[in-house]
Symmetry: C2
Subunit: 316 residues, 2 copies
């Protein structure tokens, strides 16, 4: 069995070799370094590089399993995977903690007016009359109720917030006070103080939010996007911010990444942006390798994958 | 029975009058507006103004209860209160939510590097290589284990942090994984990633932390002060930050308030300051009046106070 990683895994490499002495591991820094003969022979590939596309997969006739070391799998050619019967796992869950921390960093930065206070500190102004908003009893609405939103909703409940989740059918989910179908979203937007997108990119979520959705939101709404930038066209979010349909946005993801220097988003004073860093974490490789190891144990035994299996029909 | 408030309580005034028709309420904007004859006749005073001192109390011979509408009672003359048998209640617990929100606003601002990302946004730099630290498994040590630290420790545990609390005897407290006596603090500082002061000002806590304490801390320590600025001399915190005994500080309270414009703190690049605003909240009056009402019901019945009674010997 040949497992090829198209990224270096540092100390995880030794760990894998020691745990699976019967497996042949090869580690490369970049897909371009992979020799053609190994690409033809590999059974499993570890990567999250966009070069792993339909063409690449066609040159890997023995490939049975793609272990994607990221959560978002939208760059992968699902039709080709289905055609060839290639299984796919992702690193979903690895990022729940990091994304939740960013979400509350954003929300508290806004609610506690930290940037305003910092500006005053730099001017040596001691303005002790400032009253800040509280999270207590605020209504936070999540697009998505999977593992990442559940982790975020858990923290939100501890802060005393009311958690509302939207998913395909409106089925209940842990840590959500209320759940509704995504199709009914507009009637729930108006009551939300904070709207958070944590949906993956799929055919159904691509450009899901239009002008009508932002119009349905409250004009004091804080909108946070930590899912995928393609949930709404960039022009819609820009218009909503300019026309104050919503109060403010915190965005970590963008319709086109990297965000163009010419983007009008850079000129607005009610948007705060981070450059798709919310998932970055020094021990991501370790955590993704934990998932991979558990799957590899099972795969070696009976070709079954047990954790983080992506449904190629659903795309998540 | 005459109850005088030395601050206006807005809509809470009607609420009190309606709930207690047998009580005579008077509301003033400032202690200076209080007529001498009323000061002599009042049974109960509501305030958190520093003019309520030993002199003021001596001019109020019938006074039996001071309902302090703040948590910190250190400006009050405890000897006089004991001498005259005057009971004291505070608004402790009202601020637990707000202070906890500020604590995590500070910690997440630092751990998620929001200011650094914001500086890049302003320069239109898209640096998606940034890796931020995670709260997971970080050790957060609290000076104090009362209601406010317990609320903060509850949120810290939900974020996956290890919570260590220091109090007088080392007794256990809710939401703390470990508790130790304050006297042993130096041996616990070295293992802490974050040190948070939430102690009230008392004779025992005044200048409790000296150079030795900051030397005992880890050089990557984040120090947060949301308690009282007098926990350490300003010179000690300045030296500790300048010499990098600790990595960074977030301060909401200062030894002398308002902070002097000439303070060297304003010149340091590893301190972030807010001007004692962490307790400010638009509904503080409502929440403090909730406590006051429950106490007044009991006080009218049998002169007993049941909630937030301050021990004049301990000073908290």
């Amino acid at each position: 069995m040949l497992v090829v990683s198209l990224m270096r895994l540092d100390e995880e490499e030794t760990r894998l070799k020691e745990a699976f002495p019967e497996v042949d591991f090869k580690f490369y820094k970049h897909p371009s370094e992979l020799p053609v003969d190994l690409q033809e022979q590999m059974d499993v590939v570890i990567s999250y590089h966009p070069e792993v596309d339909a063409q690449f997969i066609k040159q890997s006739p023995r490939l049975k399993w793609i272990a994607w070391y990221a959560t978002g799998v939208n760059s992968l050619p699902f039709e080709t995977l289905k055609e060839k019967g290639i299984q796919l796992t992702n690193a979903g869950g690895v990022h729940a903690q990091q994304l939740t921390e960013f979400l509350f960093a954003y929300i508290l930065d806004d609610y506690k007016a930290l940037k305003e206070a910092y500006a005053e500190q730099q001017q040596k102004v001691y303005n002790n009359k400032r009253i800040t908003a509280s999270l207590n009893e605020q209504r936070i609405l999540f697009l998505g109720t999977g593992r990442i939103p559940q982790r975020s909703a858990q923290v939100a409940q501890t802060f005393g917030m009311k958690t509302i989740g939207l998913n395909t059918t409106g089925h209940p989910a842990d840590y959500f006070d209320e759940t509704y179908p995504l199709s009914e979203r507009q009637q729930h937007f108006a009551q939300a103080d904070i709207v958070v997108n944590l949906l993956p990119e799929t055919e159904e979520t691509y450009h899901l939010l239009s002008e009508i959705d932002f119009e349905a939101m409250n004009d004091h709404t804080l909108f946070v996007n930590l899912g995928r930038g393609t949930i709404t066209p960039e022009s819609v979010i820009i218009d909503s911010l300019k026309s104050k349909k919503i109060r403010k946005a915190y965005l970590d993801v963008f319709e086109k990444e990297p965000l163009d220097e010419q983007s009008e988003l850079y000129t607005l004073d009610n948007v705060y942006m981070t450059p798709h860093i919310s998932g970055n974490r020094s021990d991501n490789k370790k955590r993704a390798t934990d998932i991979f190891s558990r799957n590899l144990t099972s795969f070696l035994k009976d070709n079954k994958l047990v954790e983080n299996v992506v449904n190629a029909n659903k795309g998540y």
